[in-house]
Amino acid sequence: MFQALVDGILLGGVYGVIATGLSLVFGVLGVVNFAHAEFLMLGMYVAWFAWRWLGLDPMLGSVLSFIVVFAVGYLVQRTLIERVLKAPPAAQVFLTVGLLIVIENAALMAFGSEFRSVSVPYQVEGYRLGDIFIGAPYLYAFIAAIILAAVLWLYLERSWTGRAIRAVAQDPMASTLVGVDTRRTYALAFGLGVALTAFGGAVILPYITVSPTVGGQFVVLMFTVVVLGGLGSVAGALAGGIVVGVVQSMSTLVFPIQLQNLCLFVIFIAVLALRPQGLIKGA
């Protein structure tokens, strides 16, 4: 019971960071990015290759994932998403779903369909606290996620460009009138959003294998966290992530593991039914 709670919190912190990326993109651009989980997959591959070719531990490779996927996201925003920012939601859905399919298939072609995993010295290590066992990879991923969330929070609260991102989310016209380049800011926010998720993907590499379809495992989870936590709020997404992590890990005590995602679906639908404004409230 306690064990499941701790496991859930450790998982959930990472879910929080993964979902913060999605939340940021929606909060600032107003676009529901269905391709978001594909950037998680890209982040995992970057970290995997960094481990394979450079011998980089995924905890460090995650920084590389962040940078590479940020650049990809920035370009995707400037070349594709930007065109549908003012378009009807249907056009945005078509574009991001199309993007999902393209990225997934491109990954399939480039990397093949096999599952890849890393091996790190601490993979089976852990710490024992009384009756509770804390797996080292879970703990490290959790710590990395919390650090990134704190940095992100500071960046959005205190820095000029972070403040500008919040301003553009709230009122693009007024932001322009004080000299903010909104196109650049949108690209920055999108790049940052997918980079956060990619980072989250990289740090879980020691306990989750990567394949071109790994994104599919995370889509429902991400949206559930975002719906729970309220959009655009870093703290909200983190809390939502931890709730989802705990529910997921507790549910394995009661249900067979195959039904883990079912519980998420149920929460997702319950939240939408009871608190539909959750998805609509901005940053």
């Binding site: 403040r163 919040r166 709230q170 016209m173 007024a174 322009t176 009138l177 004080v178 000299g179 380049d181």
Partner: protein, 234 residues
């Protein structure tokens, strides 16, 4: 300082402004009067680069403005207080002011500039940590003006700052606008309330259906029978 020459503008449909020419000299406060949909807001938005289909010529201190990206204009020294205030609702008052300094974010006198805004609007100082969206209309207007001042503009564009506010607050705002002008900032003031506008402005223009139909000093306009009938309700 600001010269608008033969400006026409449209939002895809018919022209909203046609052949508008006007001028603001350094140190002046100039009013633009006009009824609903006369094109006053469009005029200010065109100056700030927010109307893509504007044609003609706009120069600020000799620099041509049309064709320049809107986000590059505040840096030239133009502050714009938009119609409807447009504060950042989920940001503190202080963050709103800091956003106003975005185009001069490397400057060292940031705290001095904030102090100057607080001196002009003491009420804003009292509420500096509150969310701007939760404040009264008058306070939001002060934040919006303060935010524009944070960019240290040489010219301030004000779009109906008194709209929807209680008379006492309106007086307070107009005292502040006079004070801003005395500190050397030129002002282009759009108001539906002509009496109010002419009481602070040196000169004025009357806009009707996208055309400038009349211009003159505030005294001349206040004495004009047409203006008195249409805008002063006398």
């Amino acid at each position: 300082m600001l010269e608008v020459c033969d400006l026409s503008a449209a939002y895809g449909g018919p022209d909203v402004l046609s052949g508008v020419s006007l001028e603001v000299k350094a140190g002046e406060t100039v009013a633009v009067l006009g009824a609903n949909t006369a094109g006053k807001t469009t005029l200010l938005r065109a100056i700030s680069g927010l109307v893509p289909k504007a044609r003609g010529h706009i120069a600020f201190e000799g620099t041509a403005l049309l064709g320049r990206p809107a986000h590059a204009i505040p840096d030239l020294g133009i502050g714009h207080v938009p119609e409807g205030r447009h504060v950042f609702p989920r940001m503190s008052t202080l963050d709103n002011l800091l956003m106003g300094a975005f185009c001069h974010r490397d400057a060292r006198d940031l705290t001095e500039r904030i102090e100057r805004v607080f001196k002009l609007f003491p009420r804003v100082k009292e509420r500096q940590t509150q969310m701007a969206g939760l404040m009264s209309g008058g306070e939001q207007q002060m934040i919006s003006i303060g935010r524009a001042l944070m960019g240290t503009p040489k010219l301030l564009l004000l779009d109906e700052p008194s709209h929807g506010l209680a008379p006492l607050v309106v007086d307070e705002l107009h005292v502040a606008i006079g004070e801003i002008n005395r500190q050397g900032v030129s002002v282009l003031l759009v108001e539906q309330n002509a009496m109010l506008a002419l009481s602070v402005a040196h000169r004025g223009y009357v806009l009707e259906a996208g055309h400038v139909v009349l211009s003159g000093t505030s005294d001349e306009l206040s004495a004009d029978p047409g203006v008195r009938r249409a805008y002063l309700g006398i």
